[in-house]
C-alpha cells in the first residue's frame, strides 16, 4: 500500500516537473497598456485608475468588454505635470519602464494605446530604451509626440493668454514642465523613426476659435495634424495622409467611421471629427478594430 502511495507521489512529482517546464507557456498573457496625456495635476498615479481613459462611459464600457476579450488592461498613470521624458518613481519614463518590464516580457504579448502627451512619452521611451520584442503595435490618438503649437504659444507670455483661457490652461501652475516640454522644437528634438512596431497615428480636426485661427493647418484645438498624423516636419498640414509630406518611419494613419466618431476622408486617412479629448474614444475604437473586435 505504502509502495502504491509512493508511486502516486512520484507520478505527481513528475507531472509537477513537467508543468514547471511549461510555466512560460501556461502563464502567457496579453496586456493592453494605456498611457494617458497631459493633466493639470499629479493625481491618478495608481496602476488601477481607469478614469483618465474615460472607460466608464457607454462607449468605454463596450471597449472594455472588447479589449479585455483579448487581454488585461494596465494603466500607466504617471505625473503628467512633469516633462514626459524624465525619470523618477512617479514620472512617465519610469512608469513606462515598469509597465513594459512587467507586462511585455516572457511569453506575454502587449499593445500600447496612448493619447496626446502619453504618445510623446511612449515614442521617447521607444527611441531611448528600444522596442520590446513582445510589443505588437502602438495606437496613438491625438499624438503630441511632435509637440503642439499651443505649447509654443502657451510657454511664451501672459500677453497671449486668451487661447490658454479657452483651453483651460490659464490656471495656477501653468505653463508647467509638461507644457514646456511640448514645445514643437523640443518634442521633435529626438529621432522619431526608431520604433520597430507600427504606430497607428490618428488625428482630430474639430477645432474651435481662437485655436483654429491661431494654429495653422488642421488641429484638434491642441495638437496640429503635422504632429498627430506623424509627419516628420512641423508645418501647416490640412490632410492626414497627403502623400506629399514625409511621415516618420512606421507611422501610419487610416479612417474608419465604424465607431464613436466619424472619419472624414476628404481630410485624409486618419482624420476624425473629434477634438483633442474625443480622440481617446477614437483610439479605443481603433484598437478594438486592430484586435478584431469591432
Amino acid at each position: 500500500m505504502k509502495s502504491l502511495k509512493n508511486q502516486i507521489r512520484v507520478i505527481g512529482l513528475s507531472i509537477a516537473i513537467l508543468i514547471s517546464f511549461a510555466t512560460n507557456q501556461a502563464f502567457a498573457a496579453n496586456y493592453v497598456i494605456y498611457v494617458h496625456g497631459k493633466g493639470s495635476d499629479s493625481s491618478g498615479l495608481s496602476n488601477t485608475n481607469t478614469s483618465r481613459w474615460g472607460n466608464s462611459d457607454s462607449y468605454g464600457a463596450a471597449h472594455q468588454r472588447r479589449s479585455t476579450a483579448w487581454g488585461a488592461s494596465r494603466f500607466v498613470n504617471y505625473d503628467s505635470t512633469q516633462d514626459p521624458r524624465t525619470s523618477g518613481t512617479t514620472r512617465a519614463q519610469t512608469k513606462l519602464a515598469s509597465a513594459i518590464s512587467s507586462f511585455c516580457t516572457g511569453a506575454n504579448k502587449c499593445v500600447i494605446i496612448c493619447h496626446s502627451a502619453g504618445c510623446y512619452a511612449t515614442e521617447y521611451y521607444l527611441a531611448t530604451q528600444g522596442t520590446p520584442a513582445n510589443l505588437l503595435y502602438v495606437v496613438a490618438g491625438a499624438s503630441a509626440a511632435g509637440g503642439s503649437s499651443v505649447a509654443d504659444i502657451g510657454t511664451t507670455a501672459t500677453l497671449i493668454s486668451p487661447l490658454l483661457s479657452l483651453l483651460g490652461w490659464a490656471i495656477a501652475g501653468e505653463p508647467n514642465n509638461m507644457t514646456k516640454a511640448l514645445k514643437t522644437g523640443t518634442a521633435r528634438s529626438f529621432n522619431h523613426n526608431t520604433s520597430k512596431v507600427t504606430i497607428h497615428s490618428l488625428a482630430g480636426y474639430k477645432s474651435a476659435q481662437p485655436a483654429s485661427t491661431a494654429i495653422k493647418g488642421e488641429d484638434d484645438k491642441l495638437v496640429n495634424f503635422s504632429g498627430a498624423c506623424g509627419y516628420s516636419s512641423h508645418g501647416t498640414m490640412t490632410n492626414c495622409a497627403d502623400g506629399k509630406n514625409a511621415k516618420y518611419t512606421k507611422h501610419v494613419s487610416y479612417c474608419n467611421s465604424k465607431g464613436a466618431v466619424t472619419c472624414n476622408t476628404s481630410k485624409g486617412s486618419g482624420a476624425y471629427n473629434a477634438d483633442h479629448s474625443a480622440m481617446q474614444p477614437v483610439a479605443r475604437d481603433a484598437l478594438d478594430r486592430l484586435l478584431g473586435y469591432l
Partner: protein
C-alpha cells in the same frame, strides 16, 4: 526518503516523465506543422491583390539569384493598405526587418534626419491684449543648429508679421535674455546680442529679420541643458505693444565625449562599417547617429542609429553599420561614400541604465531627473569621405536575419494563431474604409 527514492520508483518516475514529455513534444510538433495565416503568407498573391509591386529585380550573390524588392514603394503601399490582420502586420514587420534596426534606408524626403538640428517654427500668433482672441500679428523663429557645445554660439533668427497682410514688419527689440534649464530654475544667465544691420551672423541689413546670438561659457554648469532665449519686442507699425517670443536650444558646456576625427572603414559580412574613434570622458548610455551619401551624386543611402554603453577611456571605437542590401535596393553601383551628420550624445540618466530592470524588479526607488537630459558631443568639423571606392558586388543583397527578427516574427506567428482561433482564418479586416 530512501524508500521514496527506491530504484523502482525512480524508474517509474523517469518513464512517466519521458512519456509526458514525448506526448507534449508531439503536440508542439503538431502545432508547429499547422499552417497559420501568417506562416503560410501567400506573399505574391497578396501583393498582386493589393497592387504592391512584386515585379522586383534580381541580383546575384554567391552564385545564386537573390530577389531585390522595391522596399520603399512596398512600404508606402503597405502603409496605405488599411488592413489590420496579423497577416498584414506580419508582412509589414517582415519588410521592416529586411534591414537591421540600426541601419536603415535614407531618402531625400526624410527632412528630420537630413537636417537634424534645424528648427523652423510655424508662425506663432500674438493675441491682442484684452480681446476675445483677436490676432494682431505673428512671429516665427528659425535656427539651423538646435544644439551647441562648449563656447560655440547659439544663433537664431526672429521674424514678425502683420496678421492682416501676412507680410513681415520691422519689430523693435526691447530685451533678449537667456534663461537656464528648468532643472536649474529657469534663472537669467546672460543676454543675447542682436542686430538687423547685416553685421556678424545677420544675413541682410534692415530686412526685418533680427539675428540673435549668445555664447555659452565653457565649463559653466548653469549653461547646460535646454536654455531659452526670451525676447521682448514691440512693433509700432502694427500697433503691437510689448510682447514676448521665446526660443529653446540645447547647450552642453562640459563635454561628455568627443569624436577624435580618426576613422577606419572595413567590409564585414557584405556590409560596410565605418568605425569612428571617440574619447569618452563620462561613462554612460550614448546614442550615435549618422547619414551616408554617395560622394558624387549626393544620393542618400543610409541612416544609422545606435545605443551603446561606453566606459571612460580614450580612442574607443564606434562601429557604424551600413547594411549591404540597402546599397542594392537604393540603386548604388560604384563609387565612394561620404559620412555626414555624425552626432552623438550621452543620455544623462539619474540611474545606471544597465541596472534599471533590476531596480524595478526589486522595487527600488528610481531617482528623479535632477539634471538636463542630454550631453552632446561636438559635431565633427569635417564629414568623412571613404578612402576606398566600392562596387555594389562587394555588398550582400541578402536580407537581415538577426535573432531580434526571428523573435518578433515568432511573436507575430503566435498572435496570428490566437487571431485565427478567435476570428476565423480568412477574415481580412479592413481597418480603414477608403
Amino acid at each position: 526518503m530512501k524508500r521514496f527514492l527506491s530504484k523502482k520508483n525512480v524508474f517509474i518516475g523517469v518513464i512517466v516523465l519521458s512519456g509526458l514529455i514525448l506526448l507534449t513534444g508531439f503536440s508542439f510538433l503538431r502545432t508547429e506543422k499547422k499552417d497559420h495565416i501568417a506562416v503560410t503568407l501567400a506573399e505574391e498573391k497578396l501583393m498582386r491583390e493589393r497592387g504592391i509591386p512584386h515585379e522586383s529585380s534580381e541580383t546575384i550573390w554567391d552564385g545564386s539569384k537573390v530577389w531585390r524588392p522595391d522596399f520603399l514603394e512596398t512600404e508606402r503601399i503597405l502603409q496605405k493598405s488599411e488592413l489590420a490582420t496579423p497577416k498584414i502586420l506580419f508582412m509589414e514587420y517582415q519588410l521592416e526587418y529586411r534591414y537591421p534596426s540600426d541601419s536603415r534606408p535614407l531618402t531625400k524626403k526624410m527632412a528630420d534626419l537630413l537636417n537634424p538640428f534645424k528648427i523652423n517654427q510655424e508662425k506663432v500668433p500674438i493675441f491682442k491684449p484684452d480681446s476675445d482672441g483677436e490676432i494682431q500679428g505673428y512671429f516665427s523663429w528659425y535656427s539651423s543648429l538646435y544644439m551647441v557645445t562648449e563656447d560655440k554660439p547659439a544663433i537664431a533668427w526672429l521674424q514678425v508679421y502683420d496678421a492682416k497682410t501676412d507680410k513681415p514688419v520691422h519689430a523693435r527689440i526691447l530685451s533678449a535674455e537667456i534663461q537656464s534649464d528648468l532643472v536649474f530654475g529657469e534663472k537669467p544667465v546672460g543676454t543675447a546680442d542682436y542686430n538687423d544691420s547685416g553685421a556678424g551672423y545677420d544675413n541682410e541689413a534692415n530686412d526685418g529679420v533680427y539675428t540673435f546670438s549668445w555664447v555659452p561659457r565653457k565649463g559653466e554648469k548653469l549653461h547646460w541643458g535646454e536654455l531659452t532665449m526670451k525676447v521682448k519686442f514691440d512693433a509700432p507699425s502694427i500697433k503691437l505693444k510689448e510682447t514676448e517670443a521665446s526660443f529653446t536650444f540645447n547647450s552642453t558646456p562640459i563635454l561628455p565625449a568627443k569624436f577624435t576625427g580618426n576613422y577606419r572603414e572595413y567590409l564585414e559580412n557584405g556590409s560596410l562599417y565605418i568605425s569612428a574613434e571617440v574619447d569618452i570622458y563620462k561613462p554612460g548610455q550614448y546614442i550615435f547617429e549618422a547619414n551616408l551619401f554617395d560622394k558624387e551624386s549626393e544620393t542618400p543611402y543610409h541612416w544609422v542609429y545606435m545605443r551603446k554603453y561606453l566606459e571612460k577611456g580614450t580612442s574607443q571605437k564606434v562601429d557604424l553599420p551600413f547594411f549591404g542590401a540597402i546599397f542594392h535596393d537604393r540603386g548604388f553601383e560604384e563609387g565612394r561614400f561620404i559620412l555626414r551628420n555624425l552626432r552623438g550624445h550621452r543620455m544623462n540618466l539619474p540611474y545606471d541604465p544597465r541596472k534599471l530592470n533590476e531596480m524595478i524588479t526589486k522595487g527600488q526607488e528610481v531617482p528623479v531627473t535632477h539634471e538636463p537630459l542630454q550631453e552632446w558631443m561636438p559635431l565633427p568639423e569635417e564629414p568623412y569621405t571613404t578612402l576606398n571606392r566600392y562596387d555594389v558586388v562587394q555588398f550582400s543583397p541578402l536580407e537581415y536575419q538577426g535573432a531580434d527578427k526571428k523573435e518578433r516574427l515568432r511573436v507575430l506567428e503566435e498572435y496570428a494563431a490566437d487571431w485565427e482561433k478567435a476570428h476565423g482564418a480568412s477574415v481580412d479586416t479592413e481597418i480603414g474604409e477608403n
